[in-house]
Each structure stands twice: as C-alpha cells, then as structure tokens.
C-alpha cells in the first residue's frame, strides 16, 4: 500500500485508539496519544515517499493524492507543531474530562490538514477540508463555553468558506470535466472572464476565510480563545495556514500566471487592513487569550499580504512568516495555556507577576514575543524584513506604511502580554503558583530554540520554502543561509548582526554583573520608591486596567465601529425574515387546504405561460 494512504490510516487509527484508550482509562489513552505524537511524525519523516502518487476513482470522480514540495512545506509545520502540541496537551489536559473526544478531534484535524496538503484534486481537498472543519468545530465548543455564539459562528463562517469552495469546484468541474487541480490551473487561461473571476474569487474567499482575513475574520477571536489552549496552538499555528496554503496556489497559479495581478493586490490590501485593525483590537484586550487571538489574525494579515503581492520575495516572506508564526504563536498559546492552568486565569488585569514562579514559561514567551515583534536578532525579523523590502521594491508604499503601523502597534500588545501575565507586582494571591509540568514547558522551549536559531540561520527554513516555490513555478529562487537580499541588491548579513549584538551584550553583561549582581539582594515588588509612602502588602499597586487608555482615546473613532455588530444585525434581520416565513405554516388545516387550492388555481391560470402551448 502507498505510504500516503498508510499515513492517513495511521492518523485515523491513532484517533480511534486515543478515543477508546481514554474510554478505558486515562493512562492507556495517554500512552496512545504519546505514541501518536512520536510515531506520526516519525513515519512522516522517515517513511513517506514524497514522489509517490495514488490515483483512484470514486463515484466517477478521479482523485489523486501526492505531495508536492509546496504542500510538503506546510506539512512540515503540521508535522512539527502538532506532535509538540499533543505532548503539551498531555500535561494541559491532565485533569480534564472527556479527553477521549478531545484527542479524537485533535488527531482528526491533523488528519484533515495532512490530507489537504497531499490532495491533488478538488474532491479530496474538499473532503479533508471538511474533516478539518468539523473536527476543529468539536474542539471549539469542547469547553462548553459560548456554544451558541462562538461555536455556531465558527461553524457558519467555516461552512460559508467551504461552500464557496464547493461552488467553485463544481463550476470548475463543469468547465473542465475534471477535478484535478492541475487541469484547472492549465485550463484557467481559456476560461471566459466570468468563470475566471467566479471560480478564482470563490476559491479565494474560501481560503481567505480560514486565514481570518477581514471582513470575514469574526469567527476567529472567539474560536481561538474558546478552544483548549493545547489545540489553539495548532489551530492558529497550523490550521489557519491551510488557508494560506490555498491562497498561495490560487494567487500564484491563477492570478500571477494569468496576469490578474490586481486580484492578488486586492487580497494584499485586505491582508494589510486586517493586520492594522486586528492589531488595534489586540491592544485593548484584557484576556491574554483574546489578545493572542487578535494577534494571530494580524499576523495572518502580514502573511496574506505577502502572498497577495505575488512577487518572488513577497511570497517568500509570506511563507517564511507562516512557518515562523506557527512557531511563535504555538509557544504563546501554549504559554497562555500554562498560565491558565497554573494560575487559574489569563485575565491580564488579575494575573500578575508570574515571572519568578514560572521562569521557563516566561523565557519561552519572551523569545516568542521578540520573534513576533520582529526585533533582531531572532527569526521574526527575517520575515518582517523580507516583507518590507518586497513591498518597497514593488512600490506598494501605502501598504508598507500599514504593515509598519501594525507591527509598531504590535509592540504594544506584545509588551502587554508579557507585562500583564509575568511582570508587574507580585500579588500574594499568586504566591503558590508553580511552574508548569515538563510536558508543557519542553515543547515551548523546543520551539523557542527554533526561533533563536532562525534569527541567524533562517536558511534552514529557506531551503524548504525555495523548494516549495520551485514547485509553484518560480525558477532559481535565491537564498542564502544567513544573508537576506532584496531586489535592489541591498542586504542584511544576519551573522554579523547576531555577532555584533552578541558581543556587545556579553561585554556589558560582564561589566554590569561583575561584582554587581551577586551583591545585590532581591526585594519584593512592594518595596519600591513611592515618594515616602509605605506600601503595605495588601495595597494593590498593579497598573493593568485600561493599560493603553490614551491610545484607545486616539483610536476611538476607528474602533467604535465593530464589524461584528453588522453581522449580528444581519443575523437578526435574517432571523426576523425566517420568523416571517415560519408564519406561513399557521398550523391551521383550512389554511393549508386553501394554499393547495390557490396553488392549483395559480397553476391553471398560468398554465399557458408554464407549458407554452
């Protein structure tokens, strides 16, 4: 049997095994999950044959599975992040109920993603897409919070996206007689303009929805923050990338090759707007999970912008950011989960001063935040740099400004996240908080190590991106291990950067620590300069409510209009319409008989128009 089919079967098998294992007892289930976390990636890395293809025909539709390098790049994200998240989940979900369902859905969503990335035809793509959707839906409502609102909203938007794709697929089938992706790409040039737009835009809509592009992002904040954090890291890190994956091949194969660049540009604009507005929203969240959720949307906005511009460097930047985002947002959601589990809340106005209690979690978050903010010398900078340079080279100056605004404003929420949870006053309430279990910290630390390495040697990621882009039709994609170069020939040598920063850092570290640090002793955060007043232990000296109030005042005109409100109003309007329709079924027998007669009479009266004799 083909290794691809075996891979799918292994994942499905582990899903069932974890489910039934957990219905026997926790240990058995956890062993199954652990085995899945180890064996699935092991199989993928060692046994899967990437040149293999499997063809079969079901219900008259030809289907084909097989990797290309572009799919492999995204699979890499899935296959590295998901096992780490699974292991993290072993710690995170230790005391939860119904863990069987959790791991079952978790593994099924991995199956969905794996399947999407190896689909070469629309039917299997759609099937796996839907599997991914419903399994993630089960996880979104897993905790039973906001089932009605968040859950349904997620499902409705997912369904809208999926069905947009579905519509595109059947129209494509009608025009090409085939379900293969490649047939579509090849035939695209010969389509009529209407079909081109219809299929292209519908596909783009479906994929953009999964990557939470405004204005169809509204499902994301709730869904990301309601899901158990162990899954959210995958949800935001890998699952949303499926949208990016799709956008990539739509934009490149269709728009770039068929000279419909402006469609890509529109997408890029949407991405930029998303980045800005989502960042602004993230800044004012008090719940760390919500903050990270909005931040995810913003980050996906950068990625979408990169993809949408469609030049070599911009797509390179988009894909690189996609990989990086998976890593740092994975860490951050895991960290938020660790805080939630250890301290009982992620409300940044309550939780405070955990740095000394959870140093490892803090360290991982710090690294991830630096990468997120794009500050050198960590990996995030590389992606930001390439994105800016590609936009500047391309002359999209307004977009540069928007992206820059967004990433500057991102410092605000980055800082808020770290300050809110880990820094600030150490309150007695959180005196007894302990560091999370190694099952949770090790995955975070591993990912942070990755983020640090990519700061100097992003080439380890570039390699796969370049391969993937070659499959998308770019020739001779240039990359170097540590030197970034833009289209105008300007470059940054990351090793010099790291070296220079490192040397200066170490020199001053020695200078400052020499005889200094050891002689100082720790004093509590209540022992601070306070203009002569003595602060008692019970005094609340934490400044965390309305942290960015002045900025909020500045942005008030922009933020007061919430797109969610419009959707809700639309929903209510539709609901009223439905109610009106419902009235037709009065429950009165005579009325129904009357309908029948009226219907008959109408038909008879208009029979000439109907039958045209």
């Amino acid at each position: 049997m083909s290794s691809l089919v075996i891979l799918i079967l292994i994942i499905a098998g582990f899903a069932l095994l974890s489910y039934f294992g957990h219905s026997i007892n926790k240990t058995a289930g956890n062993i199954a999950v652990f085995a899945a976390a180890v064996l699935i990636p092991l199989y993928w890395f060692t046994r899967v044959d990437f040149s293999e293809t499997v063809s079969f025909t079901i219900s008259g539709f030809q289907m084909e599975l097989g990797y290309n390098m572009y799919g492999k790049l995204f699979s890499l994200i899935v296959m590295i992040l998901s096992p780490l998240a699974l292991i993290y989940a072993l710690g995170y979900m230790k005391d939860s109920k119904r863990t069987g369902t959790f791991y079952f859905s978790f593994l099924f969503s991995i199956l969905g993603m794996t399947g999407i990335l190896m689909s070469r035809d629309f039917i299997s793509l759609f099937i796996f897409w839907e599997i991914m959707t419903w399994s993630s839906y089960l996880l979104v409502i897993f905790l039973g919070k906001d089932v009605e609102k968040t859950g349904i909203r997620y499902m409705v938007f997912s369904a809208l996206g999926a069905y947009a794709m579905f519509m595109a697929i059947v129209i494509i089938h009608r025009n090409t007689g085939s379900m293969m992706l490649n047939d579509y790409f090849n035939a695209f040039g010969n389509f009529s303009t209407g079909t081109k737009f219809l299929t292209g835009i519908l596909l783009m809509f479906g994929f953009a929805l999964k990557s939470a592009v405004m204005p169809v992002h509204v499902w994301a904040p709730g869904a990301y923050s309601n899901t158990p954090m162990a899954y959210t890291s995958v949800f935001s890190g890998a699952l949303s990338k499926m949208g990016v994956y799709g956008l990539g091949f739509v934009v490149i194969n269709l728009f770039a090759h068929a000279n419909l660049h402006f469609a890509g540009t529109i997408l890029a604009w949407l991405g930029a707007v998303t980045a800005v507005l989502a960042t602004f929203s993230a800044i004012f969240q008090d719940d760390a999970k919500k903050l990270l959720a909005y931040s995810s949307i913003a980050q996906l906005g950068y990625i979408v912008t990169g993809i949408g511009i469609g030049t070599e460097l911009s797509i390179f930047a988009g894909l690189y950011l996609a990989v990086l985002h998976a890593a740092f947002k994975g860490v951050l959601f895991m960290a938020a989960g660790a805080v939630e589990r250890q301290a009982g809340s992620t409300d940044m106005t309550e939780v405070t001063g955990l740095i000394r209690k959870m140093p490892l979690t803090f360290f991982a978050s710090l690294v991830a935040i630096i990468a997120l903010a794009g500050v050198p010398p960590l990996g995030g900078f590389v992606g930001k740099w390439m994105l800016y340079e590609s936009l500047i080279n391309n002359g999209n100056f307004l977009m540069v400004i928007m992206i820059f605004l967004s990433s500057t404003a991102a410092f605000l929420y980055s800082y808020k996240f770290l300050f809110g949870l880990f820094l600030g006053q150490e309150e007695p309430e959180f005196e007894n908080v302990k560091e999370a279990s190694p099952l949770m910290t090790i995955p975070m630390l591993l990912l942070s190590v990755f983020l640090m390495i990519t700061g100097s040697f992003p080439g380890i990621v570039f390699k796969y991106i370049a391969e993937g882009m070659t499959d998308l039709g770019f020739h001779d994609v240039n990359w170097q291990m540590s030197v970034l170069t833009n289209a105008w020939g300007d470059s940054v040598n990351l090793q010099h950067v790291t070296l220079s920063i490192g040397v200066v850092f170490v020199v001053f570290l020695i200078f400052l620590t020499w005889k200094g640090y050891k002689k100082t002793y720790y004093v509590s955060t209540k022992d601070i300069s306070s203009s002569g007043e003595v602060i008692k232990p019970e005094d609340n000296m934490t400044y965390s409510t309305d942290f960015y109030k002045p900025f909020e005042r500045v942005l008030h005109p922009i933020l007061k209009r919430k797109i969610e409100k419009y959707y809700d109003e639309f929903g209510e309007g539709i609901g009223a319409l439905f109610d009106f329709m419902r009235r037709i079924y009065t429950g009165n027998g005579q009325t129904y008989a009357f309908y029948v007669i009226v219907f008959l009479v109408i038909l008879l009266v208009f029979s000439k128009n109907i039958f045209g004799y």
């Binding site: 000394r356 630096i370 500050v375 050198p376 900078f381 740099w385 800016y388 340079e389 500047i392 002359g395 100056f397 307004l398 540069v400 400004i401 820059f404 605004l405 500057t408 410092f411 605000l412 980055s414 800082y415 770290l418 300050f419 820094l423 600030g424 006053q425 150490e426 833009n486 105008w488 300007d490 470059s491 940054v492 040598n493 010099h496 950067v497 220079s500 920063i501 200066v504 850092f505 001053f508 400052l512 620590t513 640090y517 002689k519 002793y521 720790y522 004093v523 509590s524 955060t525 601070i528 300069s529 000296m541 934490t542 400044y543 965390s544 942290f547 960015y548 002045p550 900025f551 500045v554």
Partner: protein, 302 residues
Amino acid sequence: MEGIGYKILGALLTTLLAFTVGMFYAGFRRKIIARIQNRVGPPVYQNFLDVLKLLSKKTSVNHGIMQHLAPLWLITMSVSTLMFIPVLKDGLFFTNLNFSGDLIFLLYIMVFGPLGMALGAGQTGNPNSAIGVSRGLTQMVGFEIPWIMAIVALMIQYKTTSVTGLLDIQSQNGTWMMFSSPLAFIAALLAMPGMFRYAPFDIVGAPAELASGPISEFGGKYLSTMMTSGSIFAFVKLTLYVDLFMGGASNLIELVIKTFALYMYPVLWGAVSPRFRTEQAVRYFWGWPLFFGFAALIYAAF
C-alpha cells in the same frame, strides 16, 4: 586578520566618540534650558560627573533578572545601532558594519532597547514605571509612522534601502536630500522631537507626574549605564538624520557641526513648550507630520 583588529579598534573609537559627543550635547542642553529659564545651569561637563558618580555607587537591591538585564538591553541596542550606521562617509574607523544592515534593519534594531527597558521597568512593579512604559510605547506608535513614511519615500525615490546607498546618491547628485526630497525631510523633522522625548513629548519620564517613570527603580550602575546609552543613542539618531538628509559627513568637524545644528531644533522647541498629554502627542504626530509623509510618498512615487 588585521582587518578584524582595525574593526574592533574602529568600533571602540566610534563608541567613545558617540559617548563623548552625546554627553556634551546633553550638557549643552541643560545649559541652554537653564539660560532660557534665566538660571545659571550646571557646567557642560556635568553629565560626565553624574555618570561617574553613579558608577561608583554600589547597587544593593534588585527586583529580579529582567530588571538587571534592562539597562544592558538598552546599551546593547545603542552600541549595536551605532555599529550599523556610517558615522563618516568613508574612512577606516567610523564606518563599522554599515554594509551588513539597511534602513529597515536599523528601524527594527532601534526598538530593541526600549522594549527590553520596558520589560525591566515592568518587573520592578512600580506603577509609575508601568504607566511610563504604556505612554512611551503609545508615543512610539505615534512618531514612528511619519518617520517611516519619510524613510520609505526616500527608499522608493532613490531605489535603495541602505544608508550607504543613500549617501552615495547624495554625493553623486551633489545635493542633500533635505533639498531634493523636502517633503520627506519635513515629515522626518516633525517626528524628530518625539524620538528625543524632550518637551513637549517628555511624557514618558514626566518628572513631575511619574517620578521619572520607567527608570524610577534603577540606580547606581544601572542608571549610569542608561545615561551612557542615552547619550550614545542621541548621537546615533542625529547621525542617522545627518546621513539621510544632510549628505553625511566626511570628517568629524563637519559631523559635529551638522549634528549640533540639528540637535538644537528639538532642544529649543522643548525649552519653550509645556508637556502634551499622551493622546495629544499621538494626535499631533498623526496630523501634519502624517500629511507631509503622505505628500512625500506621493512625490516619491510619481
């Protein structure tokens, strides 16, 4: 391998230069403000004395590792940024590593320090520090936008993203960019006081309100390191402006003249201004500076 020796020597010299010039400028500022306020004011070298005094003091308390790292972070950033800026147009000692970084890189490495400083200030638990950080980051979002607009305008107009490239173009054309791209220069100039955080934009430290804000829990070596870093960074910013808009400098005297002239602008403005509120500051930056930024971009693109 003798190249490396020169490099290290050059780096040390540059740092020393930056430190000295920055310190004297700060001294001049104090003097000037004192004179405007009809005081005598401290001697010009007062800042040197302050730093030395602080260095000799023993630090005996801390609030944790982040506080310890914060000044370090700050000075690392200042010195590293300096390393990637061509202080003089050419020459052996003052160009350092400028070929391995470009403007976008500079913009990003310049926020590395404030962010680390903010983390350290956060750990001290002093509410004044937290408020200061909140204000500082907000203000940063304000002034960075016109500033980046000015820079992007230059980059698009001259099709290069490196400082060296822009310098070369200025010497080739024989004009300074403040004349060839006046709109960008105005936008950058309007954003400049925010970067220096002098009045009316001294909302972060805000002596009378926040008890000097983020730095309120730092003393001794920490504070001296911060002051050192601050003076180096002031020099870095001035040099960058000179490189971008005033054709750079080919010798130290030219450099000092240009930077000092430029420096007088935020200082004099600050000397006669009261303090903005945070949102007023942001609104200021997103008003006229933004307009000129846009104008510069449009001018550059078409």
